[in-house]
Subunit: 505 residues, 4 copies
């Protein structure tokens, strides 16, 4: 759950990458980084924080050059909150490579051992992206040994990478003096697309996680990168493409459509907005089959991402759609003062109910999904306090029952409210008068109908099917342990500044 972007141009790219990262900021607010290049020389700035905070004028001035890449990070694997793991990552042999990665490797632990013992490569962080970069570096070195580096050697190396690594990955990598390499895992779990723009002196090519980054910066969307495919864009902007995976199939992550991506993006041929409208439509059917619409006075979305589903649902069941919750746009912190009790923060700091939309009504609240259930519980309570007679809750996504290993930030099994609980038990927990969930198959149909070329969806959180076929109970245990440890060690981790490639606040 990160956003990545790469660009080959004839003009300075620092502002362009910055703008693209802003358009991808919803994919990660934890850290941001940009690398640009002049000839073979790289320039980097990265730090924890949001794009507008990380990049100041002096940082932007120190990012010259007409090729580059960038990333916004949402923490996923490892002690992922630390400064030193901000991307991009760099290695200087062979050639000089910088890389950004969206996704999560499921065999990072084993690869780490291999890299140390066999390849004698030093991995200095817990990041699986550093592992991925070193595997790629090693394979590039092997593919190009005693050969000039052409797209053939590069694609050969990507093929070898596909064989060695497991999991989800959309990658953009700059090879100093050569060009930009982009590739996507053989299941196409994480999105990646590219676009072009005519500029003075030639063509500008941009690769990005979502189409909004292309269009918002004036580029014409060309197409999605295919699963397993690699693109190599040379310094003149020529795009070389090759399928590098032995077996590829298109299984995009369902969560992109549920809440992750921007509604105005089109991913793998599917409008995210339309996908959400469709989910609202199938959800409406579930509502109708659960209760007479006449028992519902008003449909109220829980902002932001459930709006399209709720709107469509309201229209379908013929009930008014009203914005009964106001979201606090400005978020702050709770400071721990010595000898002072912490004021308990809650959903109420993020949402506020407008009483007249609830007073004396039967309200159907619509959320995009229900994960831990604690937020839903509090929202139901708020609706009641605002005067609602009955409070029904509908989730545009099916019950979240399994952990995610492909880069979506999810709690461990035991924290998932739907894990080992019946719908009735969940309803009782959140305190709603009724609880209606989306159906897994219906959702897949409703979204899949928008692009028949899609082979299926990575929807393991809902159906427990892990497409890479290498995930087992142990992985979940490891995740759980990692999380627990993280709590304790976070502060320590945070202070480990990087040796590798990092700037520091």
């Amino acid at each position: 759950m990160c956003g990545i972007v790469g660009v080959i141009s004839k003009a300075p790219v620092n502002q362009l990458i910055y703008d693209a990262l802003l358009l991808l900021q919803h994919r990660g607010q934890d850290a941001a980084g940009i690398v640009t290049a002049v000839d073979r020389k790289f320039f980097m700035h990265k730090a924890r924080g949001m794009v507008r905070d990380v990049f100041r004028t002096r940082n932007m001035r120190a990012l010259p050059g007409s090729v580059g890449l960038g990333q916004v990070r949402y923490p996923t694997a490892g002690n992922a909150y630390s400064e030193e793991e901000a991307q991009p990552f760099y290695v200087n042999a062979p050639f000089g490579l910088v890389l950004v990665h969206n996704g999560n490797l499921t065999n990072a632990h084993a690869l780490r051992q291999e890299l140390f013992a066999i390849d004698r490569r030093h991995i200095n962080t817990e990041s699986d992206s550093e592992v991925l970069l070193n595997v790629l570096a090693h394979e590039l070195e092997r593919a190009a040994r005693d050969l000039p580096l052409t797209e053939d050697e590069i694609f050969k190396a990507v093929s070898a990478v596909h064989r060695r690594i497991k999991g989800s990955y959309a990658v953009v990598c700059l090879i100093a003096g050569y060009g930009l390499l982009a590739f996507r895992d053989p299941n196409g779990i994480r999105p990646l697309c590219y676009g072009e723009m005519e500029i003075e002196g030639g063509k500008e090519v941009m690769v990005a996680s979502e189409s909004v980054a292309l269009e918002g910066t004036g580029h014409r969307f060309v197409r999605d990168v295919a699963p397993g495919e690699a693109l190599f864009i040379d310094l003149d902007g020529n795009v070389h493409a090759r399928q590098c995976a032995e077996q590829a199939s298109l299984h995009p992550c369902m969560f992109e459509f549920v809440y992750l991506a921007r509604p105005d993006s089109v991913i793998d041929g599917i409008s995210v907005y339309q996908a959400r409208l469709n989910m609202g439509e199938t959800l409406a059917q579930r509502v109708i089959s659960t209760m007479p619409p006449s028992e519902i006075d008003v449909v109220i979305p829980i902002p932001e991402s459930s709006r399209p589903s709720a709107m469509q649902l309201a229209q379908k069941i013929g009930k008014p759609y009203r914005e009964g919750f106001v979201k606090n746009r400005y978020v702050g912190r709770t400071f721990i003062m010595p000898g002072q009790a912490v004021r308990k923060k809650s959903v109420r700091q993020k949402l506020n109910a407008i009483a007249q939309e609830f007073k004396g009504r039967n309200v159907l609240l619509v959320d995009d999904s229900i994960v831990r259930g604690t937020t839903s519980k509090e929202i139901v309570q708020m609706a009641r306090e605002a005067g609602a007679r009955k409070v029904y809750m509908a989730s545009a996504a099916p019950p979240v029952r399994y952990p995610n290993v492909y880069g979506i930030d999810m709690p461990t099994k035991s924290e998932l409210i739907a894990h080992n609980r019946s719908i009735e038990e969940i309803r009782e927990f959140i305190g709603a008068d009724a609880l209606i969930y989306q159906d897994v198959a219906a959702m897949k149909r409703a979204v899949g109908a928008l692009n028949p070329a899609i082979d299926g969806f990575e929807a393991s959180c809902f159906d427990g099917c892990y497409i890479t076929g290498d995930v087992s109970a142990e992985d979940f245990a490891a995740i759980a342990t990692q999380r627990a440890a993280q709590g304790d060690e976070e502060d320590t981790q945070r202070s480990r500044l990087t040796l590798h490639n990092t700037s520091e606040q």
Copy 2:
């Protein structure tokens, strides 16, 4: 157009004021400041930027004490962008006073001369709030000369202040060792209310610009401060109230209801949300009287504040309400690089159209108001590019024809698209197929109906009536000149760090 808050408690108030300022952040993102007090000692931190950026842990730790006040600032008068003019302001004689102010004085220039020549008080900034504080300081000194300071002297001083100053002002002021003073201008132009909460050891009293700040921090809303009224809250939380103006009438600023205040606030007895619904309703009537609703396929709000009006309008005319624009939540900057042309930024960086909601349809766009017209023009263009067949525009507020002198950030007359232009000329300028404006009288009726106790509205931007009776053409010329100068000098002004009371980044 600022947000202010003050609190008397028995427990530390730093986090509480911080939380309240976050809830008022929509009223000003330019600067933020907090003062707390322990006994007679004040502690201050203020700087330019948003609340979450201005206050770090080390700043919060340096704000001990159980009484305090805070402000978020939206620049209005003077060279208002400078650091040194961040509030609160402080003077040390008499007593030690810190003050926050929302509003704008219309006779600040004359007062400044008086203070220098007669009162021998040094005003070190261009801020009218520093002027206001010094007038108050002088009147407190005069009222309490040779007398113990009680609420009688304090209220006497406020009466004198009302006589000397003109314009809009909601004020909270801390008197070292005595308590919190809050007052509102005799026309009640800018809002101010207070609330209470029982806490361990007694009562906590909070004064704030909007009711959301009270409720969002757990306080029970008690009432609005009346126009011309002053409250003095002593250190035990006893609230003393007195009408200090000779002539008071309630004329709240219409812009609070149009777009400034949060929809979930209630100001002077009127739910802002309901006011917007009502404006949508009367606007619907104007639409219907302009064109047959059958010519409209869909109603699309221009986010954020026009949503309630648009929703109500859509319902009224029986057409679907659809969210056809996605707002970019993350805003960044355009960096000026040496020797590099600036990429032109536009509305497109803030909004993105979702094509399927426009394609082949006649769309009615609803905005809260139209000021310069340039944004509307671009949005109409975007709608057309997204495939709309016809693009109609409706404004929930009437034409903005006159400048604002009471603290709303408005351009000068010549920049107002509705100044000296007919509706048809405006429609042509923005390029819409039809343009429907709210009617001034209808708007006043629709909003006024929600609280009969209101004497009228400060709606000078729409009707040209300046309630304080002291505003003339010269004032507007001065405003225009000031603005022009500001452009040139902004950078210089910004670098003038304050001597007075400021911290600095």
Copy 3:
């Protein structure tokens, strides 16, 4: 023990004041501040740290104007380490005043009560300089009530100040729109002098703590300010002088000559360098009367300020002067790491002995003074370890037996090695084979001979005579308590950022 400077010019003064503060940096490294003025508007920057760290380009740019003042601070009274007490201090009524102060008031506590109860002035810090400024402000207000402000009123106010405050004080104060006021306490304890330079468009006048600041910035030294005298320099550079004290006598602080001032300064007509040579000469007589010079092989100064005395002593007794100790020029910190024992720091980190100058020799070490004795003890030990056969110690100052209340940073009585101890006991403590102290009367004669116009010296640390006549045992107890408290509270104090006049890092 601070350094102050003020200047009236026709050209920008920021760099000039910066340069002057660097030349006075030896008088205080704890904090630094500058105020400049354009017309009546003040600009301030101050912070903790040394001059070169406090002032960056952006701070300097924010200090426009051709009049101004500055200070470098060495902590003396109160919880003096805090940020908020960095000078200059500001009050806005009457007129607008900023002030810098070198010295220490002995009746600050009583004045503080008066200011609160009678003058209703708010004092927000523990600094006696803020007290001094408010007394001056009050007296200026009283002197000029209903009168135009001329030098007569100003000098009248200074006279009133002299009557109200006790202790040591050299003061420079800027009166907004009027000019620069400088005055010195009636005993002339702390130094103050002024100089001039012809510049384009007129004359530049500078007031400073030491003559090096004048000469190092190209000014011609004019004269010392007389004890009790006030200078008022108007904005055209005209210097008005008046004796404002009823009884004035010249008793400069002996410590300026012992180690505080720069050797190349001339204070009250006495070359500091020559004073130190003279002290070396009289010390030589004490040495000769104590032991045959033949028992001494070499004279070794303890750097830096004892060099002239040691050199002269060596010449007088006919023995070689050798630099046997190397001073570590670069000082750092001891970081407290969690769970890590602190490496004990000592004199050895500041000094290193060059073995060949000690090996097998009888060495006479010369220091400027001995305060706690712990450093001397360690140095004697180092000399022995470096191979010295005999180690004699001579102090260019007499035994320090009493606390200081006039602004010299001295430990409390009980920490002074010479308090209640005989010379023999001290010798035993520091472990020297002989210990020779300067004689009080001889020192006064030796230094006093350089300017017969001097009435005497403030030498209370040596002779226990407090010239202001108001210092008692209780004061010392208060000092001791304050110190003890300071240790505990230092961190808290440090974090109390100022409301008043401070900038923050």
Copy 4:
């Protein structure tokens, strides 16, 4: 002209390395960096500035581990002022290496081409130290291919490095998981020594540029590293030593003794202090042979490093030694203000003359060396203005006639006052009444006498003999061009933040 240090311990080393760097700070004030390691994980902090400014508590906490190294940098080759070139440098393949380097490679340009074209290693800065590290990395990879890494492979790699690189280099390198490697160029131009200390749990071994760093941190000096020799200290503190150069000879840089090293250091068996005394002695003979000592009234050193020579000279010619110049300890900056002329800074801001030591006397000024001559000229002028009757100048070093290529910061040929000028011409330029220079051969004899084991001195600046035999006129031209370019580009360079291994302010 850098200072380096490395340590293998059983306890945390962050404070220890920090303390050692402070003791070496005189060797470089431009930048500082530390790397520590826990197991195979490296932690780095580096930045421009002095040690005490670069390392804050939070940085120190982020440097855990019981092995590490550090550097203080004085800019030498390349655009050496940039942030990105702060040391240590890091490469991650093979093994993970971090390196610090004191010296200058004379064939860096050719090596850079080789590394790119043949070794495919990316060099991202202009630093010759990054080149050196990559050569070492490449040779380690080659030596250890398919073999376990033992000291044999390591020493084999160092031998290969000696064959490939030319110039001066003292190097400390940490191999992740293995230990600390230290080596010195085959001519021993730059110093390197090591020491030990018994600590709890074993032995602590430290390698450093100068013996003061060892002794000042409590270590027993063991010996200098021999020219061409490599030490490998494993993680248990065992020191493995081997001569890795085919031809080694000891030719330490004469400038270490002239002014670079601390007087209390012993380098290659020679006390720096004693070397300076000896230079004073031979200089005295030159003085005597030039003029009758009776024409000299007083000998005055130009602080700091000429003191021992001047003192010995004074004693030798039987004239008093007096400290006639006071050095300004606190240095600041000249800020360039918009539209403001720069006040010309000069030697007078660094030095101040004490008039009474000059007035009416014939003074012999002693400096350690004369490079450009401009400073000497100004000092002579100051002496005259202070009242000197005659001003003679003596230089403890011979005329500096040739550029330096081994890491001493020297101007280009044309800027050297002694280049192509006779002594009489120089005397005339600096305006002295007489000018006495040290003799090259006498200096070598005087210093060399202190350790007969020394084969000679690298004294190319004086005698034009470049010991590495590969330096030609082109190199000087390149240096000159580089310098010139640097002036223009400095600002740009400065802002290029590093991708490689840098932290940023």
